[in-house]
């Protein structure tokens, strides 16, 4: 997976931390969720519902919907959503399981509770 380029020099000045699949990710104020994920090397954000193929941000202008993932409990476009402290991000889209450790259609949130993926 690609590394952060160029290095996030002003990361230390950032006071925002989001959680991605339960793990902490420091972000810069004003960053979009997609921007923060891409800079941290999270290129794959969800899988497509029909072919179960890996997908990530594509157009970055809100048109393609490829980065529509679970943000604070609802499906939102990561490229159009600004990060806020304590934001809960899950790398899963509507109607299918997520990426990384989640291969089934249910995912376990940080509290250990099993949640249904998809639009809530």
């Amino acid at each position: 997976m690609p590394e952060t380029t160029p290095p996030n020099k002003d990361l230390s000045s950032g006071t925002i931390t989001v959680r991605v699949n339960g793990r902490s990710l420091p972000c810069l104020p004003g960053q979009t969720v997609a921007g923060a994920l891409l800079m941290a090397g999270f290129y794959q954000m969800r899988r497509s519902p029909n072919a179960d193929a890996p997908r990530g941000a594509f157009c970055m202008v809100g048109a393609c919907q490829e980065c529509a993932i679970m943000i604070d409990g609802t499906i939102r476009r990561a490229c159009q959503t600004e990060v806020h402290d304590g934001m809960e991000i899950r790398l899963e889209g509507a109607g299918m399981g997520g990426v990384a450790e989640n291969s089934s259609t249910t995912a376990t949130d940080a509290g250990g509770k099993t949640v249904e993926s998809g639009i809530s």
Partner: protein, 468 residues
């Protein structure tokens, strides 16, 4: 809740902002709507992070100037507002953080801008493949560019702009894969000379690319992206010899020009004409930017791709025309106030034509796409499935949608419709047929919860039952 105005302007890029400012100056009550968090459009997009704010370039300065002028004006700017329906009259239905809202005015300027086109290739859905405009969005808004080993590909001035800006950010691309040949660029120079300032900017970009020793592969395109979960490499094909080369990359930015974002033009029934140079279809209008629908004006790339500066001039003319038609501006004042913009527009036309020619989508190359290539990204519909549907009798885009679900996903056909039309047109479809999806509300995906909002059951009007 409905907000009333004399004029609604949809889209706060160069065209819409200038239209709103001109009409406001003439004394109209103007509401300017945009889905972005700040005015500026794609080209003069507002920075969101400290890193982006501290970068200075001409587009950044122009955007700041535009937002400053809007702040100082009487224009009611409603950013973060998505329009999902429009009816003549004109009433726009929107959603924003404030919930569902409506705006109504007797006149409407559509300045909705353009959407990027990307020619599909095998593996173009692999994470790490982005549109070329995605690179500019990242750099302008966040002051960052994703990727370490990047390749930029496609065509037109944006290709060179992205490559040069990537160099300036310390991430020189491993290669530039340019669909156009050197000859195409040379024949554009005389058109570019119509705007010497912009030509100079382009030459500076080229100098930066040359200084960074970025190889430029002319007359070549991407035929395949490789990688399981994320991008590992791309296959580049020389269009003349057919020779294929593998280039390692973790990130690809690729774009093949622009197409008007004209859903609302079509929803309102504005007359259009096919115009490949302007990105597909152009909305017909008179010299004052009046469309075929009374009270509806069109400006900027949404009505036919011209680029930022001609768009701004068109916007100013449209705003003044609306003020004149509203009775706020005499014919003489209208002529005087619009003279400069009309001159600019005329002067910049050769520049716009030269840019558009370099950006013109390679329709013919759609027939070489591998059968397993995904066309509809949302529903994973492939070229083979389109061909099969055509064989089964699907002969327009609506039928193709019924046969395959192409265009039924959340992007609503924005990424696939024109590419699918290009594939279908080569399968014995008569040339004159309109191969577009019927425009329908909602023109943006909206959440039911946002539309419904909070309401009391007693507010719901219940009609009297019919007598038995």
């Amino acid at each position: 809740m409905t907000e009333f105005a004399d004029l609604l302007v949809l889209g706060a890029g160069p065209a819409g902002a200038e239209a709103a400012l001109a009409a406001d100056h003439a004394g109209l009550r103007v509401v300017l709507l945009d889905e972005a968090p700040a005015a500026g459009g794609q080209v003069w997009r507002a920075p969101r992070t400290h890193a982006a704010r501290t970068r200075s370039d001409a587009d950044q300065t122009r955007g700041r100037d535009l937002r400053g002028r809007l702040d100082a004006s009487g224009v009611q700017v409603r950013t973060g507002t998505q329009v999902w329906d429009a009816v003549p009259g004109f009433c726009l239905s929107c959603v924003s953080e404030r919930g569902a809202t409506r705006f109504q005015a007797p006149r409407l300027v559509l300045a909705t801008g353009a959407t990027e086109r990307v020619r599909p290739f095998a593996g173009w859905t692999t994470p790490g493949v982005f549109g070329l405009a995605a690179a500019t969005a990242m750099m302008k808004a966040e002051g960052r560019l994703a990727g370490r080993n990047i390749i930029v590909a496609g065509q037109g001035p944006l290709l060179i702009a992205v490559a040069a800006k990537a160099c300036a950010m310390g991430v020189p691309p491993r290669a530039i894969v340019d669909l156009n040949g050197r000859g195409d660029w040379l024949s554009a120079v005389s058109g570019f000379a119509a705007a010497p300032g912009l030509l100079l900017t382009g030459l500076k970009w080229m100098a930066r690319i040359v200084a960074a020793r970025v190889p430029i592969l002319h007359g070549a395109d991407i035929v395949r992206a490789l990688g399981d979960d994320t991008l590992d490499a791309v296959i580049v094909r020389d269009r003349a010899s057919g020779q294929e080369t593998r280039l390692a990359a973790d990130t690809l930015y690729v774009g093949n020009g622009l197409t008007p974002a004209d859903e609302i033009h079509r929803l309102l029934g504005a007359a259009q004409v096919a115009d490949a140079l302007r990105g597909g279809y152009r909305t017909l209008c008179d010299a004052d930017r009046r469309s075929s629908v009374p009270g509806l004006y069109v400006a900027g790339d949404g009505a036919g791709v011209h680029g930022a500066f001609p768009s701004a001039a068109q916007g100013r003319i449209a705003g003044l025309a609306a003020a004149h038609d509203h009775g706020a501006l005499s014919a003489a004042d209208f002529a005087r106030a619009s003279r400069h913009a009309r001159g600019q527009l005329k002067r910049l036309m050769r520049f716009a034509d030269a840019s558009c020619r370099l950006m013109q989508f390679p329709e013919d190359s759609l027939q070489d796409i591998r059968g397993d290539t995904v066309i509809c990204r949302c529903e994973d519909v492939t070229v083979d499935q389109i061909r099969a549907a055509s064989g089964d009798g699907a002969c327009d885009l609506n039928q193709l949608k019924h046969f395959t679900r192409l265009g039924m996903g959340p992007c609503q056909g924005r990424m696939c419709a024109l590419n699918a039309a290009g594939v279908l047109r080569r399968l014995a479809v008569d040339a004159g047929r309109d191969l577009r999806l019927t425009p329908r509300a909602p023109v943006r995906p909206v959440e039911m919860a946002q539309l419904i909002g909070t309401f009391a059951y007693s507010d719901i009007p219940v009609p009297k039952p019919a007598p038995l």
